[in-house]
């Protein structure tokens, strides 16, 4: 169960990363920083809600709102103001650009929120514990699983069943062709990136109650969600779901069986997947453009 809860927030974060890669072809190293910003924003929002005397249930709304706020401010700003200037460069160059962005955002978070840890456990206490098949399970864990499922389903539905989603798929497939068909690519890019940022911030916001929010949060998240996205196949939603479950399971297994390898069990899995299926588990092999 621990594995599934862990996989849930991981899925939310990785979904954003895989979406951004699919549409913009950017492997975003700053994704973890946005996750951290989401966690900080949620911590601020929840303590604000508590100090205003609002009912405890409102703290959930506060976390959601904080994720929206982060997405709306940070998303378009970064995409339009920064990343758009580097389009057309090599994927590796863009990786370096987002690395630079990661360095900057690290310090910005320190400047805004300081270096002391924040604790907000109110929302997690809200749910209490549930008895399920003789096991005591944190209600908040269940809530997270539900949230992840909702995020995944909504993304899947929008992409596959709505017109705008199909336009996004067309852009993923071939941006130039879509542009010549009259698709406003810039808008698709901004929206996709903002949704990616939103998912990262959402993941951060809803994990905030379970951890202490402090500097250094982003570093581990980046590496783990990289692993998830690579395992599942870059740009694939099902892949992200399976990748998150695989990583969650690998981590839990390692914690229970051999605690000393917890840290790198994930990378072993990632290396193994890359070696045997370099495209990831859920990516079809593409013809190479010359």
């Amino acid at each position: 169960m621990d594995a599934v809860a862990y996989a849930s927030w991981l899925f939310i974060v990785s979904l954003g990363m895989t979406l951004v890669f699919g549409v913009l072809k950017i492997l975003n190293m700053a994704h973890g920083s946005i996750y951290a910003i989401g966690a900080y924003a949620a911590a601020t929002a929840v303590s604000l809600a508590v100090s205003l005397g609002l009912p405890p249930a409102f703290s959930l709304v506060a976390m959601l709102l904080s994720a929206v706020a982060v997405a709306v401010t940070v998303g378009p700003l970064l995409e339009r103001g920064l990343l758009a200037r580097y389009y057309g460069r090599d994927e590796v160059v863009l990786l370096l650009v987002t690395y630079a962005l990661f360095l900057m955002l690290e310090d910005v978070t320190k400047l805004v929120w300081g270096v002391n840890p924040y604790y907000v456990s109110e929302p997690a206490q809200l749910f209490g514990n549930v008895l399920f098949a003789g096991m005591r399970i944190g209600g908040y864990d269940l809530f997270l699983v539900g949230l992840a499922a909702v995020c995944g389903l909504i993304t899947w539905y929008v992409l596959n069943r709505t017109t705008s989603g199909k336009i996004v798929l067309a852009v993923i497939h071939n941006p130039e062709m879509s542009a010549s068909m009259g698709v406003n690519i810039q808008r698709v890019y901004v929206v996709a990136f903002t949704v990616g940022v939103f998912l990262a911030a959402l993941g951060g916001a809803f994990t905030a109650p379970m951890i202490s929010v402090q500097p250094g949060l982003s570093v581990s998240v980046i590496i783990i969600s990289f692993a998830v996205v690579i395992i599942g196949g870059l740009g694939s939603i099902q892949g992200a779901a399976v990748g998150a479950l695989v990583v969650g399971a690998a981590r839990s297994l390692a914690v229970h069986l051999m605690p000393e390898i917890e840290l790198f069990s994930i990378y072993l899995v990632m290396a193994a997947v890359l070696i045997f299926r370099p495209e990831g588990l859920f990516q079809s092999v593409k013809a190479r453009l010359i």
């Binding site: 492997l27 920064l82 200037r85 580097y86 057309g88 460069r89 090599d90 994927e91 590796v92 160059v93 990786l95 370096l96 650009v97 690395y99 630079a100 962005l101 990661f102 360095l103 900057m104 690290e106 310090d107 910005v108 320190k110 400047l111 270096v115 570093v219 590496i223 990289f226 692993a227 690579i230 000393e260 390898i261 840290l263 790198f264 990378y267 072993l268 990632m270 290396a271 890359l274 070696i275 370099p278 190479r288 453009l289 010359i290």
Partner: protein, 327 residues
């Protein structure tokens, strides 16, 4: 003829630096030692970059070299600094050669991600292994250099000289390699590996060579750093270390060898002063600087060099500049 000129330049640089070191205070000697040592690891990344590979795992070879240099005194009783550097280099190169056949099947971000995964596995191993000091790392006793034992007064200067010599030799060898047939082929592989294959050469072989050179230099760098610091820790293999080295590589570009050491020195100076005066914003400054370099100087600061510019303009002497983003 060019290799004669670069040999002369290398000798001149070594002599000037060793003499200048006599005048420099100990802290400056240490700073130059550290930045030259880091420069070697960066030089490895630059060689790989020039050969069409991107790595986020140079920390792995850095750590391998450092740990090798730290362990040989206790395991085999080797006290000599030069010998330790050679061993560190060879260990890293050997491991690099083991993984090279696997890695050359990938390109671009997959190559980078796989190197990252490997180095994080090493990071995990090092931090958990009690034999290797766990997350605290291990300390190293002061080495002897070619039979001389180091006193506290001259230790910095001797290590400084040693580092200068090793760096200059490595830099010269790399510049010879770059102008050799194999080195020019690496540049072609960067441009378009498929084209190289059709011309009858092995793109994978070339990438593998670049990778092994990268590993060797990473090992040298680690072995020197370990002895200059007197301490090694698992963090050497962490991806933040690799990221910092990549940062310097981007800053330097792959046009000129000296640019690598200049960029490394620049970072080391900026880091020392920023840590002192504004510890919480210096990464911000680095990030902004890196973005500016990528935007305005995609070939790195090395392309500011007048000689490099002239050589680019001379079609007979050099390869034409490659367009970025070519698949």
């Amino acid at each position: 003829m060019r290799s004669n000129r670069s040999l002369f330049m290398a000798l001149l640089a070594a002599i000037v630096l060793i003499l200048a070191g006599l005048l420099a205070p100990a802290w400056l000697q240490f700073l130059v030692t550290m930045s030259a040592a880091n420069g070697l690891a960066v030089l490895g990344i630059v060689v790989l970059m020039r050969g069409g590979g991107a790595t986020f795992g140079q920390g792995m070879f850095f750590a391998l070299g450092a740990y090798a240099a730290a362990l040989v005194p206790t395991w085999f009783g080797i006290q000599d600094a030069v010998l330790r550097i050679v061993i560190g280099t060879l260990v890293a190169g050997l491991i690099g050669a083991l993984f090279a056949p696997l890695l050359v099947r990938y390109r671009g971000i997959f190559f980078a991600m796989l190197t990252l995964a490997l180095s994080m596995v090493l990071f995990g191993l090092l931090s958990k292994s009690s034999l290797l000091g766990g997350s605290d790392g291990i300390s190293i006793a002061k080495p002897t250099v070619l039979g001389m034992s180091l006193q506290s007064g001259n230790a910095e200067y001797v290590l400084y000289c040693l580092t200068v010599v090793v760096s200059v030799v490595a830099g010269w060898l790399v510049s010879v390699y770059w102008n050799s047939a194999a080195g020019l082929m690496a540049l072609a592989v960067r441009g378009n590996p498929l084209r190289v294959e059709y011309l009858g050469a092995s793109a994978r072989g070339s990438l593998g060579t670049s990778f092994v050179i990268c590993a060797l230099l990473g090992g040298t760098s680690g072995a020197i750093t370990a002895q200059a610091l007197g301490h090694v820790e698992p963090n050497f293999a962490n991806w933040t270390t690799s990221g910092e080295l990549v940062f310097v590589a981007v800053l330097a570009g792959y046009r000129r060898v000296p640019a690598v050491f200049a960029a490394s020195l620049l970072l080391e100076i900026v880091r020392s002063f920023s840590n002192l005066y504004f510890p919480n914003t210096w990464q911000l400054v680095l990030g902004v600087f890196m973005l500016l370099v990528i935007m305005f100087r995609p070939e790195g600061l090395g392309s500011l060099w007048p000689v490099a510019a002239r050589r680019q303009a001379d079609p007979g002497a050099a390869v034409p500049p490659l367009a970025e983003g070519q698949p």
